[in-house]
């Protein structure tokens, strides 16, 4: 199948997605929104794995499997992350990342 | 149990006894007893040493013992003494015991105070008996750490600042020192495939000149900071001013001598060629700060500051004499360390006593103390005279030896700074007498001064003990001179 779509086109698109996600990750003032930005990043990475497998290295299915695993891990991550956020919310009434600065201690 | 380890064990046992005792009144008694035993033991050690020498033992160090305690780096608990170390040990024990007496009436946390004081003393004793660079360094650090607590907790004035400054500067110095010591270690001769920290071993096969030139400044400045080498002396006025009396005594009396002793035993002895090569620079620093310290003292009004600057001046004289690198000067330098140790300890003790009564250390606010506290005032006059080098007191014997030794060098630089050093005694006289005139003589300025306690027995004990030593050395200096000289001789022979 020769669709004419270049691998570099896909990679550029995912790179843009990735960095938009990064932007969201560092600027959002809400933990859930941060989480969503994180999903963007993960998603972009997963697309890269799969597409490179599909278009460039065609001997086996490693990229696809990685994509699958990423999706699975992302699910776990979101589940646990959200639970943590909920707990935080219960404890502190806030999910502003700027107020969660316990890390510096 | 060998003879020297007892010197460490006695203070440690005293500390343990202090920790387990519960009665408030008994702390000082325990400390005093422990340190008195230590003093007596030091005297015994001196006699033992003399008798061994009398018997014809001419080895450089006696009572040696070497136990390895860290195999991979060949670090040893290597101990031994020569005449210089014996003299320093005696000085330390005398200053410590009088320090304990001076702190007889300490109010806050007496137990912790005496524990810290004795830990400090332990470090000093360990330092003077060590022959292994690393062990020596370890004891040095052991002495510096309690100093921080002692000043920070029991001090006066801006004590946190002073304690911090003192500790940080000394720690910075010990960082330099560590570099130097490791350098010495890395270039030390291989014994059975291992480098060594042993001073004796390194001294007998010193490293190449180029390496010496690199490591000498580290060690010299590292110890020099402790010996108040210009421009690293500024911890001393602030530190002394804030420290409690006994700590000032120990610090100026003993701890600062560790700097001189270290310069002498490590920097100059182990790296003599570099010392010859670079002595001109340090000579200018030390020689200049003799006058500098004296003039600095001239303008101070706080008794402790005056004394601290005077210490800067006198210790610069020690370093100056050490840099002359000959037997007479070195002996004079050690004599000066001992003499200054006693004198300055007595000074600080008296300042503490005066401060307790007048609640000020400002010279300009006092006057006529001779009338109300004649004992303390007369003691102050005497020790002042000792400090300005009055014959019959230890200061004169030491300074004269240094001057005679230094004058045998005919180089222009040495000449000039020797002359400056001699003239510094004039300035010394001025600042000492200024205090005597303002504080002790003249009319009584404040009404409350009329009602002052006379000196108490423990204060008298401390002061008389120290003054007796000062006078003893001043009137009969020859035995001490001989004791030191005999130990300096082989060192000088080795490095030339």
């Amino acid at each position: 199948m020769d669709s004419g779509i270049q691998i570099s086109d896909i990679l550029i698109v995912t790179a843009i997605m990735f960095f938009i996600g990064v932007y969201g990750f560092v600027t959002r003032k809400n933990l859930i929104a941060v989480m969503m930005a994180l999903e963007l990043i993960i998603n972009a990475a997963a697309i890269n794995f799969i597409m490179i497998n599909k278009l460039v290295f065609k001997t086996n299915l490693h990229g696809v499997f990685f994509g699958l695993f990423i999706i699975a891990v992302a699910a776990v991550e979101v589940a646990i992350g959200l639970v943590i956020i909920l707990n935080l919310y219960r404890l502190r009434d806030s999910i502003d990342p700027e107020e969660i600065t316990t890390l510096k201690h | 149990m060998d003879r020297l380890t007892i010197l460490i064990i006695i203070p440690v046992l005293t500390v343990l006894a202090l920790i387990f005792s519960t009665k408030r009144k008994s702390y000082r008694v325990i400390a005093a007893i422990g340190m008195s035993i230590q003093t007596l033991y030091s005297i015994y050690l001196l006699l033992e040493y003399l008798s061994i020498r009398q018997a014809g033992n001419t080895s450089e160090m006696v009572f040696t013992r070497s136990i390895i305690w860290f195999k991979p780096w060949n670090i040893r608990y290597e101990i031994g003494v020569d005449g210089i170390a014996v003299a320093m040990i005696l000085l330390t024990s005398i200053v410590t015991v009088s320090g304990v007496f001076v702190s007889w009436r300490i109010k806050d946390l007496p137990k912790e105070f005496f524990v810290s004081l004795l830990v400090l003393a332990t470090g000093v004793f360990g330092f003077f008996i060590s022959l292994d660079l690393f062990t020596m360094f370890l004891f040095y650090e052991l002495a510096v750490i309690p100093m921080y607590l002692l000043i920070g907790i029991w001090g006066s004035g801006p004590r946190e600042y002073a304690a911090m400054k003192l500790t940080l500067m000394l720690m910075g110095a010990s960082a330099l020192l560590l570099v130097g010591i490791l350098g010495l270690y890395m270039h030390s001769p291989l014994i059975e495939g291992q480098h060594t920290f042993s001073i004796q071993a390194i001294a007998h096969s010193p490293m190449a000149l180029s390496d010496q030139l690199f490591f000498f400044p580290f060690v010299f400045i590292g110890f020099g900071v402790l010996g108040a080498l210009f421009p690293f002396h500024t911890w001393s006025p602030d530190g002394h001013a804030s420290a409690p009396t006994a700590v000032s005594m120990l610090h100026a009396g003993v701890l600062m001598k560790m700097g001189g002793y270290g310069v002498f035993r490590v920097a100059l002895y182990l790296m003599p060629e570099a010392a010859h090569e670079m002595s001109w620079f340090f000579l200018i620093l030390a020689g200049g700060s003799i006058m500098y310290g004296a003039f600095g003292a001239l303008r101070q009004t706080d008794l402790k500051y005056i004394n601290a600057y005077s210490s800067v001046s006198h210790l610069a004289l020690v370093l100056f004499a050490l840099l002359m690198m000959d037997a007479v000067s070195w002996t004079g330098s050690v004599l000066q360390m001992i003499s200054h140790g006693l004198i300055t300890a007595l000074f600080f003790a008296l300042i503490g006593m005066i401060y307790e009564r007048t609640h000020t250390r400002d010279v300009t606010k006092m006057g006529g103390l001779m009338k109300v506290i004649p004992f303390i005032a007369m003691m102050y006059v005497m020790v002042g005279m000792a400090s300005l080098g009055l014959p019959g007191m230890s200061g004169f014997a030491a300074e004269l030896t240094i001057f005679v030794g230094a004058f045998q060098h005919s180089g222009v630089l040495e000449r000039v700074f020797t002359v400056i050093a001699v003239l510094s005694i004039v300035v010394t006289a001025v600042y000492i007498l200024r205090v005597v005139g303002k504080m002790l003589m003249g009319p009584i300025k404040t009404e409350s001064f009329y009602h002052m306690d006379k000196a108490r027995w423990y204060e008298k004990t401390a002061a008389i003990l120290l003054l007796a030593c000062i006078l003893g050395i001043g009137i009969f200096p020859n035995w001490l001179y001989k004791l030191i000289r005999e130990s300096v001789e082989p060192m000088i022979k080795l490095i030339q």
Binding site: S3, G4, I5, I7, S8, I10, L11, I12, V13, A15, M17, F18, F19, I20, V22, Y23, G24, V26, T27, R28, K29, N30, I32, A33, M35, M36, E39, L40, N43, A46, I47, I50, M51, K54, V56, F57, K58, N60, L61, V64, F65, L68, I71, A72, V73, A74, A75, V76, V78, A79, I80, L82, V83, I84, L86, N87, R90, L91, D93, T102 | -
Partner: protein, 179 residues
């Protein structure tokens, strides 16, 4: 050619939606935009005949994860909650960093010459399934097991964390205290 056009359209939609997702001030809208991105991704997979992956993407991501997120939003916010805008300095810095990153990536991807494999990729679902459970060469049974365990522990952890919270509130530590 059509595929290319479709790809570009998809790509455009994905980029725009992700952009809107990180900039919108309404959190629910952000979620919806994200959903769009994820579905676009699934579309991409379908475009390349990766039907199984597309399906997984739709079910797990667009379905499961998004539902979780929406529920979390519902639990923590009232609907219509306005997200605070990031302050200007952060925004500029963020954009700048993102732009630099995109530029670097762009230069890199256009410069690099990809060596395209010539053989055909066997990407049948059956093959994926077989490889997944295969323990010989090219088999992924071990990572599969690991992921399974991870999922299990994740679920248990989620339950424990969600349930074990202590009801009483800790006073917030004073934020002014240094170190």
């Amino acid at each position: 050619m059509t595929e290319r056009i479709i790809f570009y359209i998809l790509a455009f939609i994905m980029i725009v939606l992700s952009l809107m997702s990180v900039t919108t001030t309404k959190i629910v809208r952000a979620a919806i935009y994200l959903l769009g991105v994820l579905m676009g991704t699934a579309g991409l997979f379908f475009l390349f005949n990766l039907n199984f992956l597309g399906a997984i993407q739709l079910t797990v991501y667009a379905g499961g994860i998004m539902v979780l997120i929406v529920i979390a939003i519902l639990l923590t916010h009232n609907v219509g909650f306005g997200l605070p805008m990031p302050d200007r300095r952060h925004m500029l810095l963020g954009w700048f960093a993102a732009a630099v990153g995109i530029t670097v990536a762009f230069l890199e991807f256009t410069r690099h010459i990809f060596v395209i494999g010539t053989e055909n990729l066997d990407d049948r679902v059956a093959k994926i399934g077989a490889d997944m459970l295969h323990y010989g060469e090219g088999g992924f049974v071990l990572p599969f097991e690991v992921i399974s365990i991870l999922l299990l522990t994740g679920i248990i952890a989620a339950i424990v964390i969600a349930k074990g919270g202590i009801p009483h509130k800790r006073p917030t530590p004073p934020s002014s205290k240094q170190s």
